[in-house]
């Protein structure tokens, strides 16, 4: 969407061709996108690319890529990205995960922090702090598109007009939704084992949350923070589930002051 010097690369891991964007220079920063697809199309990435070398893989199934035959769930994605860090031989990585990508980032960190220097979780899912009958994470598959916008956006009027997209973009949107379903369906958007494992996160961790996030609320973010040793949580006013879209300047500021 932006005109910029982002270059797409490809690496084959587990027989899966994984496209990833690489831009900027400096300390490596790996961005794991959420259910909305790649975040490199948003201008905040340009700001970060001034200080970091951005590496942003596309999760299989998103942005029109195929779902690999052997993929069943989040664990497959996590092992793929562990392989990616090895294949690119990255060190001192600032790992940033958005929403579903935040869940993936947390899973990677509890498995192996060796290649990581810092962890940033942005409106991440992955845990279920409440009881079996509390809906800790809004069921995005059980709402209309309008309700979906209200879950995601502080100001739903700013949300993209899905109906105005061309057919190819609509098909990509629909395909992203299939991939999101594959990775998050059950247990819904979380791993019940993750809270017992988060003590293994040994790198400094920042959680960034949109104050108006209704998909996973700031209270959910606070519960997540409390499970990670030494983690801090910052909230951004007038932002929903994607603060990098609604408040990009404040979002970048938080990232830089933590990791820059």
């Amino acid at each position: 969407m932006n005109d910029r010097s982002e270059t797409m690369h490809r690496v084959t891991l587990q027989g899966v061709e994984v496209p990833y964007a690489r831009m900027g220079s400096g300390q490596p920063m790996v961005l794991l996108h959420g259910g909305g697809g790649p975040v490199t199309r948003f201008p905040f990435v340009d700001e970060l690319a001034r200080r970091f070398e951005i590496i942003a893989p596309i999760h299989p199934g998103f942005a029109g890529t195929p779902i690999p035959e052997h993929f069943d769930d989040m664990q497959d994605l996590v092992y793929l990205h562990l392989d990616l860090l090895d294949a690119l031989d990255l060190h001192d990585v600032v790992l940033v995960g958005f929403s579903m990508g935040g869940w993936a980032a947390a899973e990677i960190a509890v498995m192996n922090c060796r290649r990581l220097s810092k962890l940033i979780l942005v409106d991440a899912v992955g845990i279920k702090p409440g009881g079996r009958e509390s809906r800790d994470i809004a069921d995005v598959f059980a709402v209309t598109l309008d309700e979906f916008k209200r879950l995601i956006w502080h100001d739903p009027a700013k949300a993209p007009d899905f109906a105005a997209m061309d057919e190819a973009q609509q098909a990509i949107f629909a395909g992203d939704r299939v991939a999101l379903g594959l990775y998050t369906w059950q247990p819904y958007m979380h791993n019940p084992k993750l809270p017992r494992r988060l003590h293994r996160v040994t790198v400094p961790t920042l959680l960034i949350w949109g104050e108006s996030d209704r998909l996973v609320t700031p209270e959910y973010g606070a519960a997540f923070r409390d499970m990670i040793p030494g983690a801090t949580l910052v909230t951004i006013p007038e932002a929903g589930h994607a603060p990098y879209m609604e408040q990009p300047a404040r979002f970048v500021e938080h990232v830089l002051s933590f990791a820059g």
Partner: protein, 410 residues
């Protein structure tokens, strides 16, 4: 031709349609009055007994969390009718085995019905409509693969008689399978599977199972049946027997023209009352992305049910057969010839508020005046003659205005 009588067992006593979002999945069950529901169950069971009396076969199905079909456990209905009937064959179409956790349980239930009925079960397997995903909490992605894995486990459970076997599939695990009872029919009850256009017909044809099509009408029936026939011929080197294909329609017969129209419009409740919220029509992975996008943004109906049906249009389309016995026979004959032929007619003869009296009158008339002629029609089936007839009837265009073209395999 075999005719199979069915109703979805609707609970039609609902509040005004604009007062709820969706008749399926999230319509609160406070709107269900169990005393009324009990009356309805008994009435529907009586209807099937009546169908047997009239020489028709019985078809049952299953849906969940919906007022359109209050049979969330089809083996229970099948079990009751296995005991209460004596001659009719009992078709379950079907068991939603993509959405169930334990296929071995289905193998047990169906074996039990088969034994109680002394071998009168016909066992269907379906992927299920998109609205079944939320009630089952099952991701519909790879639903067809799940269906066939569950099928493989069920058929092996039915046919292996040498003590426990092991099954550790991608989705289903059972390490000590040894069901009691085993089926009455040998090697197992006849199997049916619903098919749409595209690849769904191939494995059904390869297994020589009955391929059943719901409401595809003139626009789609050739494409779907042709797909089955081609796969059958390729797999088995011979023509598809008529009894391998089934077509499901809505039907109402009356000698009185006004009653025929009124009754048929009541049966049309099945289509007109299918108000389904968009999120239930499009669970992730049910449709391929291009189709899902059209359901989300293009106003396509997700499950082949038209958005604004009218009786005239649905009769023209071949989804509804209605009128006096001559008219109904003629409508079915024309569609049968156009389609290239099929051996089973699945008759939704009751829906919505259609009364017991009207249902029974229509059923009796169908059985006495239409069914014998349909049997005659198929008895005279000749594949060469059918090819000539077919060549004389050009393909009909589908009706794009109606937005009726999303494939579904219910």
């Amino acid at each position: 031709m075999k005719a199979w009588f069915f109703s979805e067992d609707a609970y039609p006593h609902l509040p005004a349609e604009d007062s709820y979002e969706s008749i399926r999945v999230n319509l609160p069950n406070r709107h269900y009055d169990p005393e009324v529901g009990a009356e309805l169950y008994h009435r529907y069971l009586d209807m099937w007994l009546m169908a047997e009396e009239q020489g028709l076969e019985i078809m049952l199905n299953e849906h969940h969390q919906t007022a359109t079909c209050v049979v969330p456990a089809v083996p229970i209905m099948a079990g009751i009718l296995a005991r209460q009937t004596t001659t009719a064959r009992i078709l379950v179409l079907g068991n939603p085995i993509s959405n169930i956790a334990r296929p071995v349980r289905t193998a047990e239930e169906m074996a039990m019905v088969d034994v109680i009925s002394r071998g009168r079960l016909e066992c269907g397997f379906v992927r299920g409509v998109p609205y079944e995903s939320a009630p089952a909490n099952v991701l519909p992605y790879r639903g067809t693969e799940r269906l066939w894995e569950a099928h493989d486990l069920i058929v092996k459970a039915w046919t292996d008689h040498d003590g426990p076997f092991n099954f550790e599939g991608r989705w289903f695990h059972a390490r000590q399978v040894n069901i009691w009872p085993r089926p009455y029919q040998q090697p197992h009850p006849p199997v049916w599977v619903t098919i749409g256009s595209g690849p769904s017909a191939r494995p059904v044809a390869e297994h020589k199972y009955v391929g059943a099509v719901f409401l595809a009408g003139y626009p789609d029936i050739r494409r779907i049946f042709d797909g089955y026939r081609a796969a059958y011929e390729q797999a088995h080197g011979c023509e598809t027997p008529l009894d391998r294909l089934a077509y499901a329609c809505l039907l109402y017969v009356s000698e009185d023209a006004q009653d025929a129209t009124e009754g048929a419009n009541e049966v049309l409740w099945y289509m007109t009352s299918n108000k389904v919220a968009p999120q239930w029509q499009n669970p992730p992975g049910y449709h391929p992305p291009q189709v899902a996008a059209k359901v989300m943004f293009g106003g396509l109906s997700a499950a082949g049910v038209p958005l604004q049906p009218t009786l005239e249009q649905q009769i023209a389309r071949g989804n509804v057969f209605a009128g006096n016995p001559d008219q109904v026979f003629e409508q079915i004959r024309a569609f049968w010839e156009y389609s290239g032929g099929f051996g089973h007619l699945l008759v939704m003869g009751q829906a919505g508020f259609l009364s017991e009296a009207r249902t029974n009158n229509s059923l009796r008339l169908f059985a006495k005046e239409v069914y014998p002629r349909l049997k005659e029609l198929t008895a005279g089936y000749d594949s060469g003659r059918m090819r000539e007839l077919r060549a004389a009837l050009p393909d009909r265009e589908s009706n794009p205005v109606d937005s009726f073209r999303v494939d579904f395999v219910r």
